[in-house]
């Protein structure tokens, strides 16, 4: 990665066409173009397109049945796409069977061969390539060291714990030095506590080897922790592609806003439309909403404002600001230790979620059930959703 940036900087003055071709190969290392997959009148993947930089970790995120796994299986070659093409490092691989693709996959169930020891499992792919025995032994030893499993080399998969099995599965999928690594729900089979540790460890290993990686997950925390960019999928389509921060703070659609994290969505229409701000009037609030960014739209257009609960303030006294406030009664409190979520019922009946960080001990005790409170938020807290 570091090397790539360097060549780009130093070559900025005298760029040759060759450099540009090389750049394009790095930028568009994997190109997925208009992939669709039909199963008997059911469209599982609908014209999915994206491209991935070399060395990037890219996540396909969506609820179960959104087509993310099918898309991954298309990349691996287990499903033949109905339409579209896949170009990996300048080579069209859509027509290749799985065993000829320079792609390896780590399966959700790990799919370790139960009748083979850990080292035989890792060596399996290298053996298929007809590599010399001594060389295989070297490679396997290196991989075992990489995933810290050297002392378990002779064990069978059933003699390993979940986390150990996953390390072996990772080592096996990295053994052949694939151009593209696919991870199918990589933490799906682990318990919650182990998950957090393994997420960072897996990312660390993948980045150390500089492997390009596409992962599939339904867990947004996992996608945000592990991936550099995320594609949010719904009903076979890719809704939005972006870095975790973009997806969270600048959702492009109502679906993305609701799917990632928790959010209050207030329906309304544009009351005042200016280049650098809009005022939105809605039925849920008594005061209009002032949003500090421009919108491509027109006055009276119906839209929605999404406000994340942690971007709101809760107070007993009425805030001084003219816009972006609402009064209500605390209907429910969920205490999480690190933070508390308050469900505040507004006079219109709308229930607003706000999160308060418990920055000091017993901070949560300031508000209790049935308190009359004021909610307020800043100009930059809300995002206008037009779709």
């Amino acid at each position: 990665m570091g090397q790539d940036t360097q060549t780009r900087d130093s070559g900025a003055t005298a760029r040759t066409p060759d450099d540009r071709v090389e750049d394009a190969r790095v930028e568009n290392y994997l190109q997925v173009l208009g992939i669709s997959k039909d199963f008997d009148n059911f469209r599982a993947v609908n014209e999915a397109s994206f491209s991935i930089r070399k060395g990037e970790i890219f996540a396909l995120l969506g609820a179960s049945g959104c087509g993310k796994s099918t898309l991954l299986r298309v990349l691996a070659g287990f499903e033949v796409p109905t339409a579209g093409s896949i170009v990996l490092d300048g080579q069209d691989i859509a027509g290749l069977p799985p065993h000829r693709r320079p792609i390896n996959m780590m399966f959700q169930s790990y799919a370790l061969f139960p009748h083979m020891s850990v080292e035989k499992n890792i060596a399996f792919g290298l053996k298929q390539d007809g590599m010399a025995r001594a060389e295989i032994a070297d490679r396997v030893a290196g991989l075992l060291k990489l995933v810290r499993m050297t002392e378990y080399a002779r064990r069978k998969p059933h003699q390993l714990s979940g986390g150990q099995q996953q390390r072996v599965a990772l080592a096996r999928s990295l053994a052949k030095g694939p151009k593209l690594l696919l991870l199918d729900e990589p933490m799906g089979a682990l318990d919650r506590k182990l998950r957090g540790e393994m997420q960072l460890e897996v990312v660390d290993i993948i980045e150390r080897l500089g492997v390009t990686c596409v992962m599939v997950t339904h867990d947004q925390d996992e996608a945000m922790t592990m991936a550099g960019r995320i594609a949010v999928m719904d009903q076979g389509r890719i809704c939005q592609i972006g870095e975790p921060g973009d997806i969270y703070e600048q959702p492009a659609s109502r679906f993305t806003a609701e799917f990632i994290g928790s959010v209050n969505i207030l329906d309304g229409r544009i009351a005042e439309d200016y280049p650098d701000y809009v005022v939105i009037a809605g039925d849920a609030l008594e005061t209009p909403i002032y949003v500090g960014h421009g919108v491509t739209g027109f006055a009276e257009m119906s839209c929605a404002v999404a406000i994340r609960p942690e971007k709101m303030k809760l107070s007993h006294d009425e805030p001084a600001q003219k816009y972006n406030k609402a009064r209500g009664i605390i209907q429910d409190i969920a205490y999480f230790g690190s933070h508390s979520t308050y469900y505040v019922r507004l006079p219109s009946g709308f229930v607003m979620r706000t999160i308060l960080l418990n920055a000091q001990r017993w901070a949560a005790e300031e508000f209790t059930w049935n308190d009359d409170v004021w909610i307020s938020w800043g100009d930059n807290s809300g995002v206008v959703l037009t779709s």
Binding site: P98, F107, F113, P114, F124
Partner: protein, 280 residues
């Protein structure tokens, strides 16, 4: 003292009744095989003379050897064909005539032996008339007949094992560069091998046991052990048969015990390993 809970009487009693019902005939048979008397139902003191007579009965020994040969060859052929059929039934979800195929494969399970025997006899007779083969009925025709119905059993055993086979194992092998054939040979086959062993043993015993079908399709010089036993019993029950039956029972029990012991050993090891792995 009076507070001592009463031990239940009925469940153990029922269990022992069941055991007696199942095993008393076999025990009686074994005991009578050591009978001195020529009459099967009259006790005349201990002796092993019927075992000596059995070994000297060349006809009986030939029939036993023939039956073992047929059973051995049947088991292998049935495992190969039955595995192929099982794979087609589970893996090839759509092809024309799939329902007909699985129906026909499993038909011998529900068809009476008499009908299978008779239909095969008719087949062999008309085949020898039209194409001149088989010239005469004998071991080969018995073998073909046994393979036919044993294949059905193997197909059922293998297909039920394949149904809970984790497909991602095969996909993982292909993903790592193995083609379909190689994947089948080094991944699928070893993993379903317990089903193949079970199918083999089942076929072996079914073939060894069969009387009805073999009677239809056998020829003059191809009497199997059950046929030999049956015909000699019809001339009058000899204690020799008891001796033969005892030998068979002992052999079968030993094989079953060995299998059970090996399985328990494997199971124990597996459980210990898993506990160790979980503790780490």
């Amino acid at each position: 003292m009076s507070a001592r809970p009463r031990r239940p009487i009925l469940p153990p009693l029922l269990m022992w009744l069941g055991f007696v019902f199942l095993y008393a005939p076999i025990v009686i048979l074994i005991v009578y095989s050591f009978n001195e008397s020529r009459l099967v139902t009259v006790w005349g003191g201990w002796s092993t003379k019927w075992y000596m007579e059995l070994i000297q009965d060349q006809q009986m020994m030939d029939a036993a050897w023939r039956s073992l040969k047929i059973a051995f060859l049947t088991a292998w052929a049935a495992v190969v064909l039955g595995t192929m059929a099982g794979i087609v039934m589970v893996r090839c979800q759509r092809f024309r005539g799939r329902t007909l195929f699985s129906g026909m494969i499993t038909a011998p399970l529900v068809m009476p032996d008499v009908i299978i025997g008779l239909s095969l006899l008719l087949l062999f007779v008309s085949m020898s008339k039209w194409i001149g083969w088989p010239e005469a009925r004998g071991m080969v025709t018995i073998w073909i007949a046994h393979v036919t119905f044993c294949t059905a059993y193997v197909a059922v055993v293998v297909s039920s094992r394949l149904k809970d086979f984790d497909m991602s194992l095969e996909e993982a092998a292909m993903d790592l560069g193995a083609d379909r054939l190689k994947t089948f040979l080094v991944i699928t086959l070893p993993i379903i091998s317990p089903a193949l062993v079970a199918g083999w043993l089942l076929s072996f015993t079914l073939s060894l046991d069969d009387l009805v079908i073999a009677s239809f399709v056998s020829g003059p010089s191809s009497t199997t052990l059950p046929m030999q036993v049956f015909s000699s019993v019809r001339l009058g029950v000899s204690p020799k048969i008891n001796a033969l039956a005892t030998i068979l029972v002992v052999l079968v029990s030993l094989a079953a015990l060995l299998g059970w012991w090996l399985m328990r050993l494997e199971d124990k090891r597996m459980r210990r390993d898993m506990q160790l792995a979980a503790r780490e």
